[in-house]
């Protein structure tokens, strides 16, 4: 899952080496915290949060077979 988030974000940003995904586990849910270079924040959020929304759609769908609920936190 961490690798998937990394893969999705990589071609969207100018500084792919500064993508960070941290995982935190809480009661019954997995929280993935995505951090990118400050200049790239806009690129992963997109106009009206459109890119952020599609990243979440893809990540949640890919994680639908796991028992834990997944949350994706951006910045």
């Amino acid at each position: 899952m961490k690798a998937l988030i990394q893969t999705i974000v990589e071609p969207l940003v100018d500084h792919p080496e500064e993508i960070q995904v941290n995982v935190k586990e809480e009661s019954g849910k997995m929280i993935y915290h995505l951090t990118v270079h400050p200049e790239d924040v806009g690129k992963v959020i997109g106009k009206n949060g459109r890119i952020a929304k599609v990243i979440r759609t893809v990540v949640y769908a890919a994680g639908s077979d796991t028992k834990k609920r997944i949350y994706l936190d951006i910045m």
């Binding site: 690798a3 893969t7 999705i8 969207l12 997109g46 009206n48 459109r50 599609v54 893809v58 769908a61």
Partner: protein, 207 residues
């Protein structure tokens, strides 16, 4: 970016030798001729070999195809991608196991993947592309469903003499509805609301 400088008796020979080294074909490279070479007298005196610089052109389509495959592999191991280009529209057709999971409810996952691929491709390339990601004929099936829905709701609007709103849809799905009802003179269609809640409204035409 891969590039190689090669020499040969003629320009053509030099290019072929470079292609062999790069293990590619002529349509995927840019060739710069550095020296055209000279045949010389009787092919013995004053011969000069041709020198060319061959650069592998960056293939954006291939890069995003790999990107798409990487995303898809998180869903299912056995999914094949078939790429076709028509003008500025690039279509990626997915087929294989667990396709339903990739499509998602009303195609939302497929649409999300499509948008990601489009953004990635247009970031790489100077030209603008329109990307379509399809899965086992989903787009065509969806089009038929939407057309049926359009005609059914047009009848309903006509019967109850009231506006009928459809659920929010992406722009190309709304377009399908509009064009399906374009020639129906008893009703008119328009879109209302702002993205992502923009939806089609069918209204009866009062005479």
């Amino acid at each position: 970016m891969k590039q190689v400088t090669a020499s040969g008796q003629t320009v053509e020979d030099a290019v072929q030798s470079a292609l062999k080294q790069l293990n590619t074909t002529e349509d995927q490279v840019n060739v710069d001729i550095i020296d055209e070479g000279k045949k010389g007298m009787f092919g013995i005196f004053g011969t000069k070999r041709a020198i060319v610089k061959v650069t592998v052109a960056e293939n954006h389509l291939q890069q995003v195809e790999t990107y798409l495959k990487q995303i898809v592999s998180a869903f299912s191991e056995d999914v094949f991608v078939e790429t076709s280009t028509k003008g500025s529209t690039v279509t990626f057709d997915l087929s294989g196991k667990s396709i339903a999971l990739l499509i998602g409810k009303r195609g939302q996952t497929l649409n999300a993947i499509q948008y990601l691929v489009q953004v990635a491709l247009n970031r790489l390339s100077k030209e603008r592309y329109h990307v379509v990601v399809d899965a086992e004929g989903y787009r065509k099936r969806r089009k038929e469903t939407l057309e049926q829905l359009a005609h059914r709701l047009a009848d309903k609007a006509n019967k109850i003499k009231k506006h009928v709103s459809l659920e929010p849809m992406p722009s190309y799905e709304r377009k399908i509805i509009h064009s399906a009802l374009q020639h129906n003179e008893q009703i008119a269609t328009y879109s209302d609301g702002t993205e992502p809640n923009r939806h089609v409204v069918i209204k009866p035409v009062t005479k």
